[in-house]
Symmetry: D4
Subunit: 248 residues, 8 copies
């Protein structure tokens, strides 16, 4: 959208319909709405295929709600709030009554898209404790219309559990692998299939797991080329990356 | 290939053509060739779409050459040696005279594929010092038949240089972004386009860049969801991931 | 058990009693029970001599209880929940009334084995503050039928306290040494006896002890070859390793 | 002031008006008031142009209030308490009824200067979650009489938002840039303008942002020479540095 | 310059002198010259008051020389190459015979500006081992026409050495403080004067100085608000920041 | 004491008064009392001049009280509990009614020694926030009969505050310097006086102070040889070291 | 041996054959030989079942040779020098002509034991680059009379390579697993077998593998209880631990 | 000395013999000689009892020699150069023919003091590889006239080696303990004796010893209060601290 607007502006200047001054103002004004503290980037979807998600921590409930309303008024969908608290949800719910809260994934979803994107995303998780992150990834992907196949509790301690799902893994266009502790699962998965593998380390584990850094470093050091990694517990990022891959 | 062999083995057992003992032996024997020290995984391409690459450091030249010969005899292509030294190259060259050495990228390429994979990969690099890593990514991708568009020296210090290439970026099915120092470039690129962005931190920079860890942490912490990251200086991994994405 | 099942399956295929399709399904189905979120690995004991332990953090009480019931129904013993909260205990207690809670060790034990394994395990701890980890190690070991000799408060600040117990140390088939702060005790113990020494760093100490990392690094750097190390505060892991050693 | 006093003292000794003993005592006594625990450095403004700010954490409310009263009696202005709690505010309010509390910035301001310092300071922040730190910087700068232009929510995910404000940026004599996550914004700003850029990393972000260290390291590694950096979340330090620059 | 060109372009479009297509091309073409690998940003001085410096490591001598020639042809001055090797200098010298090499500072200076910028910059260093970094800062500042007052070997081990130079410090419009080991000097200096203090940690010191990180962390944690910090050994960055401050 | 007992034991064996068996038992039994969980090392004072201090964290109140009673019955003095909670104090108070609680220093003192040790210890602290650690050091030193001169709030931001106390510093036989943030104070103090300087980093400061590690690293990297360092916030250790020095 | 000597000494004192003075001297003299710089601990085998190994780095060739000769004269066997250089080997060879040098494992073996210890040790390695560490472990184990089964190049990228060796793994009394990069192999192995698993991280891999720390942290964080870990590249330690386990 | 000069100066001013201007100049001039780059602090001994030592790295041979000559002309003794190279020694030797070079300790000693300081310093080292650091400590101490008792190769792997030297340890007025790897030795020593213990970590050991940081952290976390620590490999600092303690 915005490249078109720029082009139209330049054409308007060329045709005399738009003054140079107006053109400079319009180029600045076109892409976002000024909301005081927050400037939701309502054309990001046009540029990147992905609307802006709202990161909850450090924002007051009423700030979150104001941004949600603004995005909603602009027709953006889906609208997502991550790491959302109960209080943020209650504020959002007042401006967006159809908002859905997933407390374990700490996620609020408003206005999921109503079309289905072709291409299956598998979300594989190593242990029960990793489920909240896998849930965030799955719910965000679904809010964007992706179809998700959840494969849970298949950590490397019992490698046969994973091998039993090899055929499901092979059907996915993209696989998100969520694991804490030593973070070994993405390497094993990537050694079995040709699809892209997005690794998500989680902050699960004893002391030397360093709040997920051990898994993160392990995934980055994977002996299987082709594994890419997102930040610790970042289910949102993994889903957004899957959307870029599958939607490409 | 190997799933078929397993199935055929099971069918063989079912038909009586293969005994159970022989089946167990065959299942163990099918997937790799034993070469003493090294067991090149010649069927990895069948499983993952990607043959094994040879990681050079810590291997003697004659070890590297032996694995190259083994893979070559098995018809694997391309054969890649990363972080290769001159001495490793000379040993490889004796067993594979068509081997090509890219000294700056520390890469040996033997038998690149001769088909062209549809889908353009852009390899964007921030500074001249990042070129050797961008080269590794580009050369590996090309060895697999991908078409690469190199966009160099577009670091965020002069953001207009990047913006001028927006249309080239938009044509790529996948973008690899290589940057050292603060590693800010992938965020800016990902904010401009809808395609998947694979970030590669490089070990370029002064003390607090910590040999690339500053860029790595920055890329993992990107404020744009949908950026995924590979290890420091890991051009190979970025290319392999691009192959998984584009080839999917 | 599971190798037998695989062999029986192959034999069944060979004899015509089992079709190839059924064989593939059975190979996938044999080793675990699908419980939705969690897939308890009930045959792990058959493979490794050790049933799966349940890691408490991040699991809802009812999830923990469901896994306990599942393992209990499958006849697994002992069933352990580590880092267990009071609420998790109450949920477990409803499905397993004989469950015992050790709040300081944050451990729930259900159905300890009723045989005694030959071979004595000494659990040595440096200070009173290390007791909760030493307790976890001791209680887990005892739940598996091992006999444990607890030697407490023998830190290196008063080396004669340890030397006085040299004869008890020499009777153990395996010694677990639990220490925080500088973590020096395992080196001293390993210099006195021929048995395997498993070092457990604890998160006890001032700032530069870095939550147990100082002890961990010290133990890994021990000048006495033959000390092996588990994660910070990981009494469970130490006990499981002792079981592997003594039970071997 | 204090160099004059020293000079006057030496002159007094030279003239015989002051004894050498008295001179030594006076040189020690001149620069601060002894308050038992705390020695507020009331002449710091004379030396550095900046009175001492009070760092709240670890101080009892009555300690904070006593220092405020002391500084107030000495005519120091403004008086600032950073990382202030509600309880510290209530204690300060009793001794300084005009004290103003900014709870989100955790700042207490007493007796802001009533003159206006020429020179505009722009305070640019990347996301809504960075606002509390940007607020601290802005409020401190204003307490010293600086004029502040706040530009908020212009993170690099949508680089056009920043570019639209280029003219406002160009009017500032000094720009403070506040950003968490990958901390890329200062590099982009510094590439656009000639004024000094003070980068403030914030502790906003997922695991690998390491509580602001990822942003800190990124800013220190900036590819644009001329960016300087203060500590994580240190809005006060950024404002004080701006005051030194603009007031120079 | 470049905002003017943009404005002129828009005006040209408005007047019909420039077509919209041509305008888009011109906007892309105006700001840099494409040199294959490297795109020197010749208008950076117009935007930021500072031409691009060339970071030497990882660039071949002929690459460095080509960029120098390109910048020289475009009239950029000064041209700086940092962390330059002897071989890079020899290549540069062939294309720029007036290039001056400062081997200890690892700096090449071509075409220093011939005007003098008002405002004195003091460059203070703690020990003899810090001189190479202080030299880089001083030489870069002088290449831009700044006047530099070098104050060397005044580390905090003998605080009177620094106090003796208080009057020289007070005359500076900006003070760069270079120190390794514990990096305490910037705090002491900033407590004495009102001018901006730019701290440069150096990689001098024993093990726990961690290659300059101890000094870096110390400077960031300075108890004197108003100290800002650049990367380890980054004399260039300090000088560029001083130029922004003094030249503002 | 204990070397005498050993010698007496050997003499007893020589004279026939003691059997070899009894000698081995006595050698084990002489040095400590077995209390189940805790083995207070009541002869440590004999060996080291310092009785054992009780580290509070991770110990139940009744455990702490039992050890206090045991030490008290053995005539040990002083008895110290560090990092003590209110609940631990109440338990101790029941067994030792003369116990004194210093809540800010988190210290319990029972039975301070009633003699005065010659030699003055100066405890210097940088800021008000460092007082709780300086208090711990001072109170522990005083419990052992040392005379303490407290010099507070003399951080390097106003170096004249410290210089004014030079004569007090010169009278001390040993100086403990407590500082957070950049931890620069010990270097400055050690540059002024010939006495031993014990540096105590504190966990005071913003993000990059890393909970005291920045100060710790800075102190270890001090440019003044002769500064030694104890752990973060470890006032106890500093006092015990001063006792070793002054009491030697 | 040495406990006997102590007992004999005490008995001698009891019988009057030994004076108390002589007893104290003898107790000090019995356990080691004073060699000036080095005090080889020739009775360590008596205490721990393992003679002292000589750590090469930082020792002059003649120092190494002197210790070897001393141990050899005392009848110690085997004598091992780790991280040995060529020059150290040549010096050792002069005093011990039967010394064998394994340059890739950087190991010198003198006088291997000539008995065979029952119990098989499997040494499993992930990649060819890990071989030098696996070799150190294997050669040390063999020098002590252990039988070693080497299983090489079975990294998790092709998990079937490992599964094919399951029966060999099951025959081992103890398994040493050597892996770099993400260090995932020990978890997978430990999930398959009941024997003790000793994990050895190696310093193989790209930047974020941090010289083996990523593998180390991953192994410590293993989701399979019962994996213990030794230091990076510490093949010696793994072998010594295996000897303690198998020889117990 | 310098306090006297200041006092004399003030007295001179009081008596009219010295003008105020001259007094200010004299106060600045008294304490050091300006040598261009380096300002040797020749009165440091007067203030601290210790002349300045010269830290070699990063200084050119002729710079080192010039400072040595300057100190020599001023009568300073001893003069020490640490981390000295052969080339620095040769330059020093030309200006100070009696200079002695200790290559393993990387130390140059010129003009050792010719008096003997009462009080014995024990220098205890754990392994042969720690000798070079122990040598630095011993040689520096001896250059200042201290008497040193070297106790070598008494690491905790064979704790009886240390116990045998208890009486020598008890005679020392101060004990320096040098150890790498886990750094446990200082805790054990400090538990045996009442004298001050200065711990020196060394950079000896495998990967997770992190170049001495493991030992450093362990020593800082020592469970024996009264151990103080200097930087990694910092034998000089330990000796200087011992001098402060013994000479006090």
């Amino acid at each position: 959208v915005d490249l078109q607007i720029i082009r139209e502006t330049l054409d308007g200047v060329a045709s005399g319909a738009v003054s140079a001054d107006e053109a400079m103002a319009r180029l600045e004004g076109v892409a976002f709405v000024d909301l005081g503290d927050a400037k939701p980037d309502i054309h990001r979807e046009a540029r990147t295929g992905q609307p802006e998600a709202i990161y909850g921590p450090g924002k007051r409930p009423e700030q979150v709600a104001a941004v949600v309303r603004q995005l909603s008024d602009a027709g953006v969908r889906p609208i997502l709030v991550t790491r959302a608290t109960d209080r943020q949800y209650r504020a959002v719910h007042e401006v967006a009554p159809d908002a859905v809260h997933h407390p374990e994934a700490e996620l609020i979803v408003v206005a999921p898209v109503d079309r289905s994107v072709p291409g299956l995303v598998a979300v594989v998780s190593a242990g029960t404790s990793d489920l909240r992150v896998a849930d965030e990834a799955s719910l965000v992907a679904e809010a964007f219309g992706l179809t998700v196949d959840r494969i849970t509790d298949v950590g490397v301690a019992g490698i046969h559990r994973l091998l039993a799902h090899r055929s499901r893994l092979r059907e996915a266009a993209c696989v998100i692998v969520v694991a804490g502790m030593e973070g070994a699962l993405p390497s094993v998965v990537a050694g079995l299939i040709p699809a892209p593998v997005i690794a998500v380390p989680t902050s699960v584990g004893y002391g030397a797991s360093l709040g997920g850094l051990a898994a993160l470093l392990g995934m980055l050091s994977s002996c299987v080329p082709g594994v890419t990694v997102v930040n610790v517990d970042n289910g949102l990022g993994a889903a957004m990356s899957a959307l870029r891959i599958v939607g490409a």
